[in-house]
Symmetry: C2
Subunit: 277 residues, 2 copies
């Protein structure tokens, strides 16, 4: 028997972040539903291990909350798929888009969902799957405070839909952007016979950056493929009219190559790991 | 009377770095010549205050060393101007190109000077005018060790012409690149109502980066105009065939705007300085 007050949460997406959040919520006492239709065997396994239950779209629409935690490229279609069932639902769940997408895309999703009557919240996840923090913005953000009782770290931003996503974009633009700079410049220095000199000079005059790069660049390769779309979102976040959007087009191009260039990522991992000793 | 063994050094360029190096060398006991023909009144004043003497091109060619410390865009023409007088000189000075230019440009300068017989050294300056370090590479690099006796910090790189410049490019690509990321993302976060949240989150989860940005972004505005050409050199250092060269085209575009957009740089300075207190 499910207790009367138990929160039920629909979690769209069972990637590494989605399943980690699902596990945290089930451990916290929530019932977590998802739809595994069309998902990979790995996703299905991760979802089950996280204690998430496979459910119909109608069941998802009957939850208290819907959390969308999917790759940036499918955030819009994920919301659109829910529109028909949400329109026919009697009670409306709070839809929280937690994806790494730019504010304009978030507003597009909010508009897509508007006819359904489901309250929309702009969410952003900062941190690793092991310790995610949720930032929330928009008129209905306060309603997500309930998730804190089920194990999530939830912080309210005093801003409209778009503010949480802007925080995510700008934070990732600095951290994943610096990982791109460190990777691009290390590879270029190595190609030109200046790799060791670069690390020595950074260690001497920029010890904080040297330590940061040694800690972060080697962890990037398995995530590079996911960061391509995120860098493209950040380029759009800046906007075509400002020249610096090209910084993130360049970073997207770098990560697109590194996702497939094992020689380059092996070189980077060796380069930074040798120097830690 | 000039002592027999006093080193005479031709210093091309009397910008903030060039004049600081000139001052260091004259304080160290060297005689430092430059040519003020066609230079601004500010450069002429800086040169004189640094103890540098105005001299003809022929006198420069008779020095022990020629140090080129000029804006990246004029490094080639600065060398080319010296070619006729160097060709006719009996003894050949060591020509050290110390500019923030990419290895291919350095090689072009080396080829330009080759017919003169003057030994060529690839130099790179890392650090502020108050504490510059000189890295030297190429077959004749060891000859620049003499400059250490006159107050310069000189370090040899075990590499050909191009290695010192590659170090400079990759080091500046990380440090001035991160300044670009921090500027672009702070301005975008502020535009989207997430500026304070960004600084709070960085302070909490990326304290090293938060401190670095607070220390470096506010010092960037007066240098932005000079960094445009340097970012373009770094883009060429990467090469057109690699997508990440666009990172630095974007950074060049950002600095080109910030060099003239006082509203934006005032915003950045206020943004970071408010948070230091």
């Amino acid at each position: 028997m499910i207790q009367a007050k138990q929160l039920t949460i629909a979690l769209l997406g069972a990637g590494s972040m989605g399943s980690a959040v699902g596990h945290r919520l089930t451990q916290g006492g929530a019932r977590v539903l998802t739809t595994l239709e069309g998902r990979s065997a790995a996703s299905a396994l991760r979802a089950r291990e996280a204690g998430m239950e496979d459910a119909s779209l109608e069941s998802l629409a009957a939850c208290d909350f819907i959390l969308s935690i999917v790759p940036p490229a499918v955030a819009i279609e994920t919301a659109a798929r829910l529109v028909p069932v949400l329109e026919h639902a009697n009670s409306k769940p709070v839809y929280v888009d937690c994806n790494a997408i730019n504010p304009a895309t978030v507003e597009q999703i909010a508009r897509t969902l508007e006819p359904t009557g489901a309250p929309f919240v702009d969410g952003a996840i900062i941190g690793m799957p092991s310790a995610p923090k949720f930032y929330m913005s928009g008129a209905h953000a306060a309603r997500t405070q309930a998730l804190a009782d089920y194990g999530l770290v939830v912080r309210m931003l005093d801003g409209p839909v778009g503010a949480a996503s802007a925080l995510k974009m700008s934070y990732a633009g600095i951290t994943k952007g610096l990982t791109a700079l460190g990777s691009a410049m290390s590879l270029a220095a190595i190609r030109n016979g200046a790799g060791d000199a670069l690390l020595d000079e950074l260690a001497e005059s920029q010890p904080a950056l040297a330590a940061w790069l040694a800690g972060n660049v080697p962890r990037m390769p398995p995530k590079a493929y996911r960061w391509v779309a995120e860098m493209e979102e950040i380029a759009q976040f800046i906007g075509d009219e400002l020249a610096e959007h090209r910084i993130y087009e360049g970073a997207a191009g770098l990560y697109a190559r590194l996702a497939h260039d094992k020689d380059a990522t092996d070189t980077l991992e060796r380069f930074f790991s040798e120097r830690k000793n």
